[in-house]
Symmetry: C2
Subunit: 766 residues, 2 copies
């Protein structure tokens, strides 16, 4: 049986703890307490019995129970003001409040408790102080025997904070006070959206919205800092995350990246404080993934130097636009620029859509996207422009402009290159969405692991039931997901810094990585939350366990900021183009032939001894794992090039050829991303100074790599990269790693730093 | 570009269709129509322009456009009363209503249209009648060119109705009128639960609740009929399905199966009409899967021949009990029966919990499980019994009773066997849950396929965009899921009939199948809905596409009526026991040795020629597919037996040995279920008389089988069952089958018979 406390007893826990903390009580002391408790008419008879039972010297609490009480008091007292923390009654009242047993809280009880304190001769403030002292054995809240931190706990947690613990605790300090409102299901949609706006403004007021903007406009010029806010907010409310991201990241980001000084000076400060709420109007009813084919037009009017923004038909309305439904006053609108009847492709324009009082402006029709699967705290809407006139300077003109003489000019002559350059500046969103997904996955794993450690079911005949975490099937479900989350975390951090430090450099590789990593990482999020929910059984279905909103809110992550399947094709094409570019003016055919040949050279001859090597040392080595990942990547690249080559040679046009090999593009892109993620995991381990951290990360890296090889074993076996016996050895080793890492499961999810009140829910079986 | 109609034009569609249906208009006729339209002050100038443009003889609609108009009118007119169906104005008004352009609907327009009808010399009732005539080319509602049914359409649809088209249409006729209420998101939780109860009672009043009960009690003694209702209701609202299932299936089913004549006579009629709403109180806070360890007690009181039902601690409260939160008046409570201080294990008792006015009875505390991920139309609650007294006859005494002398007796002497016999009678729930899941999966596929056919995105340079269904990645996502749904459908039907026809026979095999099939089928549902949602992109995220509730409501299907992972272990253990039983008194060790030996004999020597045979004929043959499935099953069984054998031989106790091989138990059970599903698919094809049905089902069977072999290719390659080249050939063939079956995708989902108004939503891009 687990250690646990019956609800009605909770308010008396501080009293009981203090009573037993210093050893066995005198009979007179027990009698006094019993008397005071029994005299109190507001306490129910059953409760009195329970309290008295726990004061029986024949029945003292075990050391484990005492440690548990102490810890429980500490955790709950952490929610009190310092002045209340050392008062028996206040803490008891807090515990009562947490468990809905507040009938106990009254003046009579207050008096009883104070009398008891005095009688026991304990200066209560002093005695209770010991509860709050740092004690490694009891400082984490854990219901089962395992109450200790591990050597790696602190540095590992710090590692996942990516250098910004301060930013994270600022976010926590802003959102913690709202936790009840955040977790309420009572709001209607409109009220909820207003609340989300309010919280968003609080973050802005604390200077947490504009961190990515240049210091001259109130920011700190740091994308990683902005991402740290994004990650932390995601632990609380994903509608807030997305509203925050739409306004500061997409809208503000478009002004910063696509606009020039005139726009920065005029808008960035107000965007940073949210004085000017905005939205990002790209997607249309009939054009989502195919941005190039958007139908909204922006026709230049030389007479008065304006643009007319127009929605040609109902199918061309902007849709799913976050922040448009209720709050945005300005939209970055993507439209086909037409100057003197000539089309210049997609450009972005700032279009005011509401006045500062929130009234919709003339010739603009705003709709609401209605009830959604999730993110119902975000006001997604539709926008219809009926020949809306905007001044010339509202064109975000960094990559294309209309001059004073009404002539179009651009620093980038190729319209296709211009298009991709513009979209490329918006890669920040693709970096941030999966980071929000990671937070959701971490929260899900935190809940599932704490649940699995606490929940007991079945057991050997005649013995105690077992923790479900002891079941191999359960370990096999959860442990690889924990390893994945670490793997993607390091990859995101790497990419974020790379992007942040090399904004002006050739960004094609960053974009390709961002697109592919976003796809694999968000799919991992969806899978993780699903498996975690199932692993918590019926309790996982209750909204209090968060899986409800975690699932519903993140479900769209695989779609927005680029549909995952489309993104992986982008990644694959970009990989092919990368080779093409490296060799100047080669055409597609030559490039494909070239890739086939170099990849063949790189693909080492398979050594039958290695193919059959089933030793643990070999399987756990970086060399084997990297070689396996690289082999899959290069082989896919080569066969893809060969397939395309053959089709084009046979007269197929390149569009159809690429369509035909679509599934292989996805495979190749996935193999590429997998390899980068593993490499980054290894580099991260090398960078660690603490041996305990290195050790646990190495186990996680091994599990990440071998589990993925196991998942792709069909491919490896098809291509004779591993023998059947080696494949079986890998299956076995994965199970072994899962079992070993299970012992670290609590400490690993503790490193995710999920707010404690959430964890507590996982442990509450009413 | 797809054929489509601008919203404001919709009300004029009947007019336009009639104007063009008989050929080119005379100039005078056009002028008259233009004049009448222009004179009408209630029609907006833009709309007038559009209408006139469509009447221009230089710009006649193409045959395809005309067919589309006709079809569109027909579909919408189907919602009208017969008398309104042949009136231009009424149909136009209906179209206007569907598209929210109702400002058009007024007397002035009515007059204009009637004048136009008269002038054109068309007797409108006659002309419109042609719209409703059966025309194979236009009789299905389809937005793209493909407007035809296929030869197999009608018989295939009939096949999936499993012989009960009448029951299904009765359900539809009851629920269709509620469709707006069902699909509303405006209700608070309490209101919603009341509505669901109301619909449930409507089904009961129509005689659709008690179909499984014996005719003597108002039913028809047919489990398959009951399942048909269940399946059909699931297309509308899964909360209703579950509430219906809890009351009629679990509560009523427990009275029928565990009770005797006294209970049947007293309760079954009232249960059938829902005059006595009930619930099924098995799960407790601390015991879900481990039913045997339930803590609630039922202690016999010889003095007054009663039982005292008691909840020993807060952790032993009944929880997640559907119908308990608000509506049930009686509960079937599972509790440890104690007679004269002797425990006799779990038995079921009828405990009144509310009076007929809905007031909770004394000594019973009912809680609410709060907000859930889904199924929020079901009132799940907790039950706490504080020494509740019930008469002796409230024990459901079919398998265990207390006689007049206060002595326990049972027709089954082994308490373990008694326990499993009691649970076995409740297998109906495990048959029905996955059937509800299948309906959800069908609805999801219907939406995804219609969306994919209509949605266009990207395309060859300078050409029209392509339907996303033309993308190989999309085909690879959706088509295997369609094949799976057919496969599971036939398996469920088979099992349902088997169960229904052999209730009294040894039911172990049915139970093992039901448990395992429930697991694989509900996981398939979860996966199907997820992939369908993603395949519909942003639109899939809007609640109007149903994925929202489909996902949230079905998510618990993998947990309730048995956690899937636990169920598969049951299936596996039952398979092992099956062999044990066949040979009398063999002990576990001997059995395991025996299984190892017979399985080895059965496993044919692998023929290298077959292992490498990549011919299409071979891969598409039943023989190869069945052999592949059987090989995996028997090999898993043998290695499992060998593993267990070895562990037990080495002194491990059998509990630990089974724990160690948990993952292998799951694999073995899955392989067993997969083989049965494939066999049943083949039998179903053999039973068909219509060649076109045979043909399309054979393609689906091939896709089901080969896709599953592809999914398990790692295993097959590890065990040298197929060569690498054969595996690659299978991958290729799966892609080919997906591409071929894509051509049937619309007709295949049409066979699912999803209410048309749902399908329409998939085609609406605002």
């Amino acid at each position: 049986m687990s250690v646990s406390i019956q609800d009605p007893l909770l308010p008396f826990l501080p009293l009981l703890y203090i009573a037993w903390a210093d050893g066995v009580l005198e009979e007179t002391e027990i009698n006094f307490i019993n008397k005071k408790i029994n005299e109190n008419k507001t306490i129910k008879p059953e409760t009195k019995d329970m309290v008295c039972k726990w004061l029986n010297p024949q029945n003292p609490p075990s050391a484990r129970v005492l440690a548990y009480w102490k810890n429980y008091i500490k955790q709950n007292a952490d929610l009190l003001n310092p002045s209340e923390k050392s008062d028996l009654f206040s803490i008891g009242a807090q515990l009562a409040k947490k468990e809905d047993t507040e009938d106990w809280v009254n003046d009579e009880t207050k008096e009883s408790l104070h009398l008891i304190e005095d009688y026991l001769g304990i200066v209560s403030r002093e005695a209770l102080r010991s509860v709050y002292e740092n004690d490694p054995v009891t400082s984490t809240y854990l219901p089962t025997e395992n109450l200790s931190e591990k050597a790696y706990s602190k540095p590992l947690k710090a590692l996942l904070q990516h250098g910004y613990p301060d930013i994270k605790s600022r976010v926590q300090s802003i959102l913690d006070p709202h936790k009840e409102a955040i977790e309420s299901y009572d709001d209607d949609l409109k009220t909820r959206k207003e609340k989300v706006l309010k919280w968003c403004k609080e973050l802005a007021n604390a200077g947490l919205g504009n961190l990515a903007y240049p210091p001259a406009y109130g920011g700190s010029g740091s994308m990683p800092k902005y991402a740290a806010v994004f990650e932390e907010v995601s632990k609380y409310d994903l509608s807030l995350t997305i509203k925050f991201g739409v306004h500061f990241g997409l809208f503000g980001g478009s002004v910063e990246s696509l606009g020039t000084k005139i726009h920065h000076d005029k808008y960035l400060k107000d965007i940073g404080t949210m004085a000017l709420p905005g939205c990002f109007a790209m997607t249309e009813m009939h054009h989502g993934s195919n941005v190039k084919a958007l139908q909204t037009t922006a026709i230049y009017q030389p007479d008065d130097k304006t643009f007319i923004i127009n929605t040609p038909s109902q199918y061309d309305r902007k849709t799913y636009i976050g922040n448009a439904g209720m709050h945005a006053q300005m939209a970055t609108v993507f439209a086909q620029l037409i100057v003197n009847e000539e089309e210049h492709g997609i450009h972005a324009f700032l279009v005011p859509i509401r006045d500062s009082k929130g009234n919709t402006l003339d010739n603009i029709t705003i709709g609401d996207n209605g009830h959604k699967m999730g993110l119902n705290g975000v006001d997604n809407g539709t926008l219809h422009f009926n020949s809306v006139k905007i001044p010339k300077e509202n064109l975000l003109n960094k990559f294309g402009d209309v001059d004073e003489d009404g002539k179009y000019n651009s620093p980038i002559s190729s319209s296709s290159k211009r298009f991709f350059t513009m979209l490329g500046t918006l890669v920040g969103g693709r970096l941030c969405v999966p980071i929000a997904g990671q937070s959701a996955a971490k929260k899900a794993l935190n809940m599932a692991v704490y649940f699995a450690l606490e929940r007991k079911q079945f057991g050997p005949p005649g013995k105690e039931e077992q923790s479900v975490m002891d079941y191999p099937t359960h370990q096999k479900k959860l442990m690889p997901l924990i390893a994945n989350v670490f793997a993607y975390d390091f990859a995101h951090d790497f990419l974020l810094n790379d992007y942040s430090n090399n904004k002006e450099a050739d960004s094609q590789q960053v974009e390709a990585l961002a697109a592919g990593l976003k796809a694999l990482s968000t799919w991992n999020t969806t899978e993780t939350i699903q498996i975690c929910r199932e692993s918590c059984g019926g309790k996982g279905y209750l909204s209090e366990m968060y899986f409800d909103l975690l699932k519903a809110d993140t479900d769209i992550f695989t779609t927005f900021e680029g549909d995952n399947t489309v993104l992986l094709q982008l990644t694959a094409k970009s990989r092919l183009t990368y080779f093409k570019k490296q060799f100047g003016k080669m055409d597609w055919w030559d490039t494909l032939k070239y890739i086939s040949s170099i990849a063949s050279t790189n693909l080492s001859e398979l050594n039958p001894l290695v193919t059959r090597d089933t030793s643990e040392d070999h399987l756990l080595s970086d060399d084997f794992q990297i070689d396996a990942f690289t082999y899959r990547e290069e082989f896919s690249l080569r066969t893809l090039a060969m397939r395309l080559n053959k089709k084009i040679k046979n007269g197929m046009d390149s569009y159809d050829a690429f369509l035909d090999v679509q599934v292989h593009l996805i495979d190749m892109a996935s193999a590429y991303i997998d390899r980068v993620v593993l490499e980054r995991f290894i580099v991260t381990i090398d960078e660690q100074k603490d041996d305990s951290v290195k050790e646990v990360l190495t186990s996680l890296k091994n599990l990440y790599a071998l589990h993925l090889i196991e998942k792709n074993k069909g491919w490896y076996l098809e291509h004779d990269y591993i023998s059947g016996s080696k494949s079986l050895a890998i299956n076995k080793l994965v199970a072994k790693l899962c079992k070993e890492l299970k012992e670290e499961s609590q400490q690993l999810v503790d490193a995710f730093d999920i707010p404690r009140h959430m964890t507590k829910t996982a442990l509450k079986f009413y």
